[in-house]
Every structure is written in C-alpha cells, then in structure tokens.
C-alpha cells in the first residue's frame, strides 16, 4: 500500500513539476484546467488521498522505509497545499473602475519602445487590456 500511496503522491508532484514555468499552450495532462481553478480540488484530493494511503500503510505495519516515504509524501503534500490554499491568494483589493466608468488615460511604451497613448481626445477602437504579473 505504501508504494501505491507513493505513486499517487509523487505522480501528482511529477505532473506539477513537469508543468512548472510552462505557458498555457505548453501545459500538459489537463493541468491548465487544474492550475487555473480557484481551488484545484482534484490535485489536492490526489495528494491528500495518497498521503492518507501512506498513513494507513504505516498503521498496518511500521517499518523504517515506510516512515521515510510517508515523511516525503507529507512534506510535498503540505507545501503544495499551502501554495494552493494560501500562498497563491492575493491581498484584498478593489479595481478602481467598473462597468460604465471611463478607462484612465495612459501613455505607455510597447515592447518595441513605441509610445501608445489613450485619452479623451484619442480616436480609439475597442480594446481588451490583460494585466499580468510579468515574465518570470
């Protein structure tokens, strides 16, 4: 049973590691849907279920290697749960504009150093602005 628990937990960790640093188009194994859920219950259930199997294995028969495997499983499960349930959540904030408000004026450079401006006197076309955290 300890090897089944290890397969579930470390397999899940492997999927996470395989997708670290990937942009959306590079994400594999349905990870895009999982990682972008507000709380990725499937990933967490796999980690918690796998760890529970490991604990059950220890309760059936206590041996040194089982403790070592379970310790690793619990460490990964704890860290990843902390990330998904706490670390990746943002401080409270409220967008200063709502539907029907004017979008603020701006003058910003683009990736080639060209200036883009928008203000009340600028002829515009509809635009979608995606604010992102930057490239890591």
């Amino acid at each position: 049973m300890i090897w089944l628990s290890a397969l579930v937990v470390f397999g899940t960790v492997g999927v996470i590691l395989a997708n670290l640093g990937a942009v959306d188009s590079e994400l594999r194994l349905g990870f895009q849907q999982m990682i972008h859920a507000r709380i990725p219950w499937l990933l967490l259930a796999l980690l918690w279920g796998g760890s529970a199997l490991g604990i059950a294995a220890i309760l059936r028969k206590r041996t040194g290697y089982k403790f070592a495997v379970l310790g690793l499983e619990l460490a990964f499960t704890g860290l990843i749960s902390f990330y998904f349930l706490s670390f990746s959540f943002l401080p409270a904030h409220e967008l200063a504009v709502g539907v029907g408000d004017a979008f603020p004026d701006y003058a910003l450079l683009d990736q080639d150093g060209r200036l883009h401006q928008a203000d009340a006197s600028t002829q515009r076309e509809p635009a979608l602005y995606i604010f992102y955290r930057g490239d890591w």
Partner: protein, 107 residues
C-alpha cells in the same frame, strides 16, 4: 479590437516574452505602475521577489473609452476564461456605443 498585455516589465523583457510566445498582441510596459495605480491594481512587494507587479486583471473598453467588462480574482492562478471574454466581446458588438462614461475613475 485591440488586444494589450500590460505588465511592469521593461520593453526588452516584454519583447522576449512576445517572441517566446510567438504572440501578435501588443505588450505595454507600465514600468512606473502609473496605469496600475490609476486602476488600483498595483500589488506592492509581491512575494515572488519581483517588487511591485499587477494584480491579474482584464478590462474590456469600448471605442468611447468606457469600461464594458472586467475580470479579477482573489488568486493569481485563476484567469478569465476565453469563453467569458468572447461573450463580453459579443455583448460589446451587439451594443457598441455608450455615449459617455458614468463617472471618472477615482485616482
């Protein structure tokens, strides 16, 4: 319809990302967080060690400069889904004009 990706990254970093993604959209660089502050979406001292960055946000603006749809989440992992964005754009196309904004943004 224009599509802009906005971050605090300088132009050279944004250009690198644009090239890596083979993207055709325009990357705007708000290195001083001026627009972020106007929208109140500056994440001060983010835990990623990158300093101040943007709270992930999407804003759809019509040809009069009026906000028509917004998206925010309380976790940076959650994104506006493409279907949701396309629905907002479809609504904008069906009702393309609002004569003037209801109010100026609070600065």
């Amino acid at each position: 319809m224009s599509l802009y990706a906005v971050s605090v990254d300088p132009p050279e970093t944004s250009k690198g990302l644009k090239d890596r993604l083979k993207s055709r959209i325009t990357f705007l660089c708000d290195s001083e967080s001026v627009l972020l502050d106007k929208l109140n979406i500056r994440h001060r001292g983010s835990p990623g060690g990158k300093g101040d960055i943007a709270f992930p946000t999407a804003v759809l603006v019509d040809a009069q400069g009026v906000v028509r749809w917004t998206f925010q989440s309380d976790t940076y992992r959650q994104r506006a889904q493409p279907e949701e964005i396309f629905r907002a754009i479809d609504r904008l196309r069906q009702e393309p004009e609002r004569t003037k904004p209801s109010r100026e943004p609070a600065l």
